[in-house]
């Protein structure tokens, strides 16, 4: 009787052990699937347009991350670009990143400019973000290839860098006020516009780049980023992207990445823009 009872307990323990192993496999499989979904959504198609090129890339610190970028070609020929960073890391941040993506896509279609897009996103996301004690920083911009006008608004994000080809210098875009999405309801995000000339680059980034650390605990910092950009600014956007990633790898030298790393590069090549006002730029894989 006693032996039978002990065997029952052992069987129960084996079952529990098997359950844990199964759960572990299931979780791993689902996280890898989530990573695949996120990677496909982030690193999918990019818009093609005459007179320039744009690319983005994102490398999560964990299996999945909370950084976000997206492009939305508008019917008037402009391209709406967004980059963002959800508070926190890992699965919770990734779930909010998907919410943010939905809010951007919906807002981009129904709003006139990047400022309105951010206001609409804040209204759409505010309650959910408050409930979850989170927030998102975002920078949103419209690139008009026809007039070479770059219009942007900011919600608490790092302002993009402007690499000015003719002056051979790099500067942050002029400040424009705007708090993070999810901080307060009913926010306005004022817009700023600048003209971009041939050979110029607009570099959007998240803090994972400038806060990447080496084994001595030093940060990559904005100065190294600018230096790295200066060294590769003549290349095309794909190669600029690879060069910046390589600079980070060289600097960190196998120190594990702590934060998600994301960048969007818009380069004006000077080729003739020939986009009619009602033709949206095409998407290419």
């Amino acid at each position: 009787m006693v032996i039978k009872k002990e065997m029952t307990i052992m069987n129960h323990e084996n079952d529990e052990c098997e359950d844990v192993v199964n759960l572990d496999h299931t979780l791993k499989r689902e996280i890898y699937l989530a990573r695949k979904i996120q990677s496909k959504l982030l690193n999918g198609k990019h818009p093609e347009f005459q007179g320039g090129e744009v690319r983005g890339t994102s490398k999560p610190a964990r299996l999945i991350g909370g950084d976000y970028f997206d492009f939305y070609p508008l019917l008037n020929g402009k391209i709406r670009i967004v980059i963002g960073d959800v508070m926190g890391k890992g699965i919770p941040a990734a779930m909010l990143m998907i919410l943010t993506r939905g809010a951007f896509r919906s807002a981009a279609e129904s709003t006139k400019g990047p400022g309105e897009t951010l206001s609409a996103m804040n209204q759409a996301l505010f309650q959910d973000l408050r409930t979850l004690k989170s927030f998102v920083t975002l920078c949103c911009a419209d690139w008009d290839p026809l007039t070479k006008t770059f219009t942007y608004a900011n919600a608490g994000h790092h302002l993009p860098l402007h690499i000015i080809n003719k002056d051979n210098r790099t500067t942050s875009l002029p400040k424009t006020p705007g708090i993070m999405v999810g901080g307060l309801p009913n926010q306005n995000y004022p817009e700023q516009s600048i003209q971009i000339e041939d050979g110029d680059i607009i570099f959007f980034y998240t803090d994972g780049i400038i806060e990447a650390q080496n084994k001595d605990g030093e940060f990559f910092k904005i100065e190294r980023l600018i230096q790295s950009l200066n060294e590769c600014k003549e290349k095309n956007v794909e190669k600029i992207k690879d060069s910046i990633m390589q600079s980070l790898v060289t600097f960190t030298n196998d120190v594990p990445q702590k934060d998600d790393i994301t960048m969007v590069i818009l380069k004006i090549t000077g080729e003739k823009s020939d986009i009619s006002s009602l033709n949206a730029p095409a998407f290419t894989s």
């Binding site: 508070m87 926190g88 708090i179 702590k258 934060d259």
Partner: protein
């Protein structure tokens, strides 16, 4: 990376001293209700002292936001002290100083 938050009650002011790093690696220490709860809630002001704050990321900023909302709910005022130039820039960029203003707080 470590974080120590020391708490001191001076008359009607609760002072929180942040020493170290406020990021995801120290997030388990963040608990605004635990940190701000005092028997009888005798204090009226929360003073956040950042003299020894070495690094803060979005997770740390999120925690500070929760202190704002908590203070608003319980009718406390907030003050910031000892912000480094770099941290001040980060707080300003992200909108935390605007939030401080909205919640009737101030820098001292």
């Amino acid at each position: 990376m470590s974080l120590i938050i020391n708490k001191e009650l001076q008359y009607t002011t609760l002072i929180l001293y942040f020493n170290g790093t406020m990021d995801i690696s120290t997030a388990h220490i963040f608990n605004e209700e635990h940190l701000l709860h005092q028997p009888n809630q005798t204090y009226q002001k929360i003073l956040l002292d950042f003299h020894n704050l070495e690094f803060i990321d979005s997770t740390g900023i999120g925690f500070l936001m929760e202190i704002f909302y908590y203070s608003n709910e319980y009718n406390k005022t907030i003050q910031f002290r000892g912000l480094s130039e770099l941290n001040r820039e980060i707080f300003e960029m992200i909108g935390l100083l605007h939030l401080l203003n909205e919640f009737k707080g101030e820098m001292v």
